[in-house]
Symmetry: C2
Subunit: 246 residues, 2 copies
């Protein structure tokens, strides 16, 4: 507790009575949220970036962020950013880390809370033309505005770890997908090659895939079956998700 705030506030029993006064004595910091929005198409992991609107970062790419409004929970702020940029509610979203280096923003100290989000590119193409907003492949990104390259790297590492513990990947795929698509996704995220037979065995043994009875269409080879992920069964039965340990 700050000595000054305590002194002004102190009573004989040493307890602070006026909590509003106490809080108003705290230094205040501008807060933003930054969303690392991952997508997947053409067998590549993509991230959604916008051209920076600050002159000091002219031409550089930036994460999608906004400051946190008064009395807004940060999860809500992140959802708001997603909604504004992609037009979508109900997108997968998780807090990853808070970045606080005093020089991370050229305009002064600004704290940012990084969120990671996964969405299906096909479902979300609607509002993307409004701004200079583009999907980028991960390894094409060299430099970014602020410390956003660092944030992106940490979120990517987070995703690689997280996807082996939870079935997040389905958020990046269409509702119905072939096992080949699912495997391509895991290979792209983890940046490794997997054995097709073992991959299939693993997913079938978890028993969270529903055979839709439909098949791929318009492929220049034997079509594969299309599956859905059984989100309900997974939610009821999380224990059965064994780590994917490639």
């Amino acid at each position: 507790m700050p000595k000054t705030a305590v002194k002004e506030n102190e009573k004989k029993d040493g307890l602070i009575k006026d909590v509003q006064k106490l809080v108003s004595s705290y230094p205040r910091v501008p807060i933003t949220v930054d969303c690392v929005i991952f997508g997947f198409n053409d067998n590549e992991l993509k991230v959604l970036l916008i051209r920076s609107d600050l002159e000091v970062y002219k031409g550089k790419w930036s994460l999608l962020g906004d400051f946190s409004g008064d009395n807004e929970e940060l999860d809500g702020a992140a959802k708001r950013v997603l909604k504004q940029r992609t037009g979508m509610d109900g997108v997968y979203l998780e807090q990853v880390k808070t970045f606080s280096h005093p020089k991370r923003h050229p305009g002064g100290r600004v704290l940012t809370v990084a969120y990671c989000s996964l969405l299906n590119i096909e479902h979300h193409q609607l509002k993307i033309t409004e701004n200079e907003l583009h999907w980028h492949t991960l390894n094409g990104i060299k430099e970014m505005a602020f410390d956003h390259k660092n944030i992106l790297d940490e979120c990517y590492a987070w995703l690689q770890k997280r996807i082996q513990e939870h079935p997040l990947g389905f958020n990046l795929l269409p509702d119905k997908f072939s096992l080949r698509e699912l495997q391509n996704l895991y290979e792209a995220i983890l940046d490794i090659k997997l054995d097709r037979r073992n991959f299939r065995k693993k997913f079938f043994s978890m028993d969270f895939l529903i055979d839709t009875g439909e098949m791929e269409d318009d492929v220049p080879h034997r079509p594969g079956k299309l599956y859905k992920f059984n989100f309900q069964k997974y939610e009821k039965n999380k224990r059965k998700w064994m780590g994917i340990d490639f």
Copy 2:
């Protein structure tokens, strides 16, 4: 970007030139750090708490926290809190999560960043008598000030997971420890019973324990060997740490 801030700042090319002005237009929020400091003795996992100095929380226990000073990185703020309370530098410390519910502080909106810290109780008894500061066993804690019970629960879950991925536990033990102590620690944190022989096999096979040649003393039974953890070898060779998967 906030419409007002952009408008005041806009040039013909649409880029913002005055970043200070931009940042000064952001709402500002008081920030605190809260440290969940775990210790281990009497074969129990403990957490270091202080009596709240707010009258609204009279008698309730609280995490060790402080607000973040101007231009201070949050990791530094958390280290500062640890240093002030325990007198120790170089304690294990990691950011866990940021809590932002608008009503989490009775004095108004205050954002807090939770840090988790692990320290050896024996080494840190020095400055603990200054305040009403005590080690608590985890399951004795029912109610706390602010949302600190929630923060504590999340940090404990974090620890349970984290200790299976990294050898954090050694930070809680004396430099030299017996395998029995090490096993007790894992049993306490994970809240399960382990097989002694398998536990020993696992740790010896990782080859990160150094036999000090010394033995336990003053035990009313056959004394065990004392080991040190080989931090250097671990740092050079993190790959060999296989998840502990009890």
